[in-house]
Symmetry: D2
Subunit: 193 residues, 4 copies
């Protein structure tokens, strides 16, 4: 039976979607892994509250979830946060205990307070009792992997450029490495159960 | 001319509203201060985006803003974040540069990841170039002021109790002290201009 | 072959040592786990730099490390940080990649900025490419487990009381649960390799 | 009477010292400001504890303090932390209440977990009841000011280059702007007292 991994993201301008595709690509290439890619939608937020039972069920069935969101005004996009807030019932049931979690984020500046968003994603995963897998890469390579110097997760940079141009190839490769790493950890984690 | 201070909060269950009233009470009691209390509304969030020009204009006219939100799933409520994300135009214009900022939050546990929400509010204020005023109190007093041991802002505790009972009197007094302190700092800050 | 787990801590006043013993007790009780308890010593810090090759070698040989430190002035004790800074060679060699990590901290207030120390321990572990295991408990139980409401790790409270009295029984039980959980995760993680 | 501002920093390799000089230069150029530059020394740390009464007295006499430290292993250098821990008596006396505070940090990566160090400096200042002044700059300028995208304070980047080359001119200009801003805020803050 395959290890189920879901990349769950919000993208407002298409940049984080490109990063999410890269993360998904990296995960899907790992043997014995079934990787899904799910984007959160504005229309699922009504009067400030997000609801989509199908998406929650997909996460229930996942061994690992990689969360992605732009960094807006120093934190996760409110749309991502609306999803997070809507998982409180799962939290109460401890439904996601011992699933693996990881994260990525995109914003305009090299630092750009993206660290804060990764800490939020970590904090969210910890509330659920998930086990957190970071990027695990250093910037010391020729391909630009982790060029921004992130450790808790993957960071991509994009400002006003079209999503075809930013995040750039190095950032997307960084995303791929995150997807690959989380998938490999998930296979090992499942095997040990 | 009076110093303008606004307490801007979201409350989902009424607990943070009680804390906000306490903060407002503390600020309003300071001489030469005009203090407003504004609650964010779910209905101002349409398809994930918050919009209320009147509220933004009120903040534009404020010398100091005290932000308040529950801590949901380890961070600010998505409804508060929707407001924060909607201030990006003000950010670009540097419209709130050198205003004073402060914050408070409410959640069920004594720690309860509330620190993370205060760091978010700080990070948000820093993006705007605001100057941050913390609580400035220690827990060493007989009235329960700052009983939870918070420094970056005020913390209140409330779980399932009715809002009339929680946050308790000590937490509300802590909120009052925050309001008082920010108002006094704002008067001094305005006088020095 | 047994799974090796080390509880590595600094204690200035004896309170964090009591918490560390509890964490160690919880880990040592798990089948197939060999748990060690190592306290950092002031005398290993000379002119601001920590050095103890034996301790580093013990960590090299561990499958999981649980880090503990008091929260002093809003962050980890400088003595713990001196140890952390001295691991930069291990960081460069990626020597601790894929080891498990977890953390606990003790300070006087219920919140007391302890969250910030746990985020530091997480950030440190992420730099090393370790996989982070949180507390995984809610406060909803009759024994006081996680009474302070922490998720990223375990929190204990102690001010001026003798170490025999604080952290209290509930906090120490919380520490035991952290030790138990990390040990169980480590056994599974090793089995999957 | 002049407004007293102190730049208090630790530098292990000389890079943070260069940044500190830039911050000091920016502050010293502001009218009516007397700016001091103090580096923390390894030899003041004996058996893990920092002690230098003269430095503490200089901070007691300052209206504003700008703290600087490298980011080592995801947080402030242990030597800086040793200083911070040694201020607990000042904390107890509330000796630094209402002084202004700000911060800067240097590390190898563009992000490089520097955000976490700024949050630590903020948390430390909040424990003391200080008022926090951020950088207040955006990256939208031709001179490279705030090229890394930091808001809570100033960030500089330096890896293995000689301190004469890194942090680069843009980062040092960013440091100057921080010094200038904090000094101007301090003059206004003092005038309003």
């Amino acid at each position: 039976m395959k290890t189920n991994l879901t990349v769950l993201y919000f993208s407002g301008t298409g940049h984080t979607a490109k990063m999410a595709e890269a993360v998904h690509r990296g995960a899907a290439a790992v043997q014995d892994v079934a990787a899904a890619l799910i984007g959160l939608r504005n229309e699922d937020i009504v009067a400030g509250r997000w609801k989509n039972d199908e998406t929650l069920a997909r996460l229930d069935a996942s061994d690992a979830v990689i969360f992605g969101t732009p960094t807006y005004m120093g934190g996760p996009a409110s749309q991502f946060k609306a999803f997070a807030d809507a998982t409180s019932e799962r939290w109460f049931q401890r439904a996601w205990l011992n699933k693996l979690a990881a994260g990525f984020t995109v914003s305009g500046g090299p630092s750009g307070d993206k660290f804060n968003t990764l800490v939020y994603l970590f904090t969210f995963a910890m509330q659920h009792g998930m086990v957190w897998v970071g990027l695990g890469e250093t910037p010391f390579n020729d391909q630009g992997i982790n060029r921004l110097g992130a450790y808790g997760g993957a960071m991509g940079q994009a400002l006003m450029e079209p999503p075809e141009e930013a995040p750039n190839a190095a950032d997307k490769l960084t995303g791929e490495m995150l997807g690959k790493r989380v998938a490999e950890v998930a296979v090992r984690w499942r095997r040990g159960a």
